[in-house]
Subunit: 201 residues, 2 copies
DNA sequence: GTCTATAGAAAGATAGAC
DNA sequence: GTCTATCTTTCTATAGAC
């Protein structure tokens, strides 16, 4: 406080911190309200700054969203563990995290609540390509790994949607263990065999 | 048609026809762009009227959306046929209708592109309760029919999302027969046995 | 029954002071 | 580096003419 103009006034921050605060606020806001459901004023306000800084540091709302998607999808939240255990792990964690009371931030929620906007959908598609899909494909043996990986993502996204975004009652009130068993069964069916169209007919 | 003031001026319509035209336009617009992605001006314009008539006949955009959801979910598009065949039927139709070139109107698309708006999500949840879920539950034998019905809806919605709204490439380019086989397998797994938690542990 | 015109709010983005 | 103030557009909804 006694040195040049680096004195610490209560609001003074450096650019990197402010940028990070805006980005963090954007992830939370886009996850909770979706791309069209939140304005740059709200995001800026929650970060303790004004709306102008959002465009100063990110250029536009769209570019801010792109960065928010990137940091949201970067950690490996869906695919964790080894190939042998990741289906049941993923199912349990999915059910736990999508529970009614859980207020976790999750990239699937961000996706589901922003997918209605076509530009947001493109950005999300690219984010999935660059992050989670690659990890999922590497875990899958057999043919059509990419198709099966995306099919697994479909199942996961669908449960998030109905349970947490739409909120259909039977899924909200379902017994977690029972639901996790169902989902695990489905994911195993996709991850395991049945890639060869041999016995199909 | 040649009676009284029912004379046909090029633009003259009666109230019922205008209302129906607006509603039809609303279903198409909400399905294509989502609740937040379209304005009453566009909906009215596509119906050949002005925005004012939307509120005149429906009260508000929200009430218009509620009616659009109702007519969109009313026909039994997902559950058709008998209990024995509806899983494979549903899978084939789902894959066909969600193909990249297909420009069908579908209630799942309306749901997915509007789910980000919390009021829209509530309206959709009610629409599902009143229409498709009931039909699905009646087809399912065994315990937890409601949970399993909603789980099936989750799977269907998830595929619609990734294939048509987000547009992940492997799902877009997937062989329809192969994809339908996977989905049918999943739906059968939910519809068929495995309801009893007997062998779970 | 349908229109034009507009009110009133909120959005994204920018100019310029300090 | 961050602010206040404003521009411009777009939105839902309403008032009042014909």
């Amino acid at each position: 406080m006694t040195r040049e103009e680096a004195a610490v006034s209560p609001r003074r921050r450096n650019a990197a911190e402010t940028r990070a605060a805006i980005l963090q606020s954007a992830v939370a806001a886009f996850t909770e309200h979706g791309y069209d459901g939140v304005g740059v004023r709200e995001i800026a306000g929650a970060a303790g700054v004004t709306a102008m800084l959002v465009n100063r540091y990110f250029g536009s709302k769209e570019q801010l969203f792109a960065e928010a998607v990137d940091v949201s999808f970067a950690p490996r939240t869906v695919v964790s563990g080894t190939a042998a255990t990741f289906t049941s792990n993923a199912a349990s964690r999915l059910v736990a995290r999508s529970a009614a009371h859980a207020e976790d931030l999750d990239p699937f929620l961000l996706m589901l609540r922003s997918a209605g906007n076509p530009r947001a959908a493109e950005i999300i598609r690219d984010g999935i390509q660059r992050h989670v899909r690659k990890d999922l494909v590497s875990l899958l043996k057999g043919g059509n790994a990419a198709e099966r990986a995306e099919l697994m993502l479909s199942v996961i996204a669908g449960l998030w949607l109905m349970r947490k975004v739409i909120g259909t009652p039977a899924l909200v009130d379902a017994d977690p263990a029972d639901l996790a068993r169902h989902v695990s069964r489905i994911l195993e069916g996709i991850a395991g065999g049945l890639t060869a169209p041999a016995q199909a007919e």
